[in-house]
Symmetry: C2
Subunit: 143 residues, 2 copies
């Protein structure tokens, strides 16, 4: 299994601890929160799209993202705006014209996600294999 820039385990653990001490105990929930915001179905895709394309109109984003419903696109964009990751500009024209762009914070997030995506790409096959077993879920509830 290819692991790009190899770190030794001690180093990983040390850094991980450092990162988690920087977050106070109370802030542990912050991680979860970041991931329930950034991690909803579309947000990270939007961040990436805006990162690559720069400033885009609503419809442009929709076009580049295949499969988003209007509802979810708006919802996600508003979330991202509230989280301060995206800025929204409404020109108050008619017909409407609104466009979106990554904020500084959003660009920061994108930058921090890069190592993760690189790694996902490297290990894509590993994940694909795992995916095969998905039907048999443990928690019955399978009425």
């Amino acid at each position: 299994m290819i692991l790009g820039g190899r770190m030794d385990n001690e180093e990983i653990i040390r850094q991980s601890q450092a990162a988690c001490e920087a977050l106070s105990a109370e802030d542990d929930g912050l991680k979860r929160e970041v991931l329930t915001h950034a991690g909803n179905r579309w947000s990270l895709g939007i961040v990436h799209t805006l990162g690559v394309a720069g400033r885009l109109r609503h419809a442009e984003i929709a076009r580049r993202m295949r499969g988003v419903s209007q509802r979810m696109l708006t919802r996600s964009l508003r979330q991202l705006e509230r989280d301060g990751l995206v800025t929204r500009q409404d020109y108050n024209e008619v017909p409407p014209r609104v466009d979106y762009e990554l904020s500084e914070l959003g660009r920061g997030l994108l930058a921090r996600m890069i190592p993760l995506w690189m790694w996902v790409a490297e290990n894509a096959d590993g994940f694909r294999d795992a995916r095969i077993l998905y039907d048999s879920d443990i928690s019955s509830d399978t009425k």
Copy 2:
């Protein structure tokens, strides 16, 4: 807004594109999948706990994670096992004794999350501010 090791935008975009070209178009869903697996309520916490503590028994993990139900802990561990991030060893003793450990892949993931957590810690206040507005959700459905 503090952005730790500053990269310029062009660099971010270039790298981000590189990462996403490495992922084939079809693999775009992989990102989502990684995040819906790793991003469920407890998985990343478990990965972190195991990363720091090494090899742990079921009950040990539960103790360190305040708030997990037995059900969700088992469920999450099994997910992680299927995803190849965690290895499970059952000693087939009675009373039961099972322990869990990060796999190489799991350690890889942990390592890739570090920049993100560092960044979250740095920008914690920004997020906390954003959090205040949460009650007013856009998508009505608020019957």
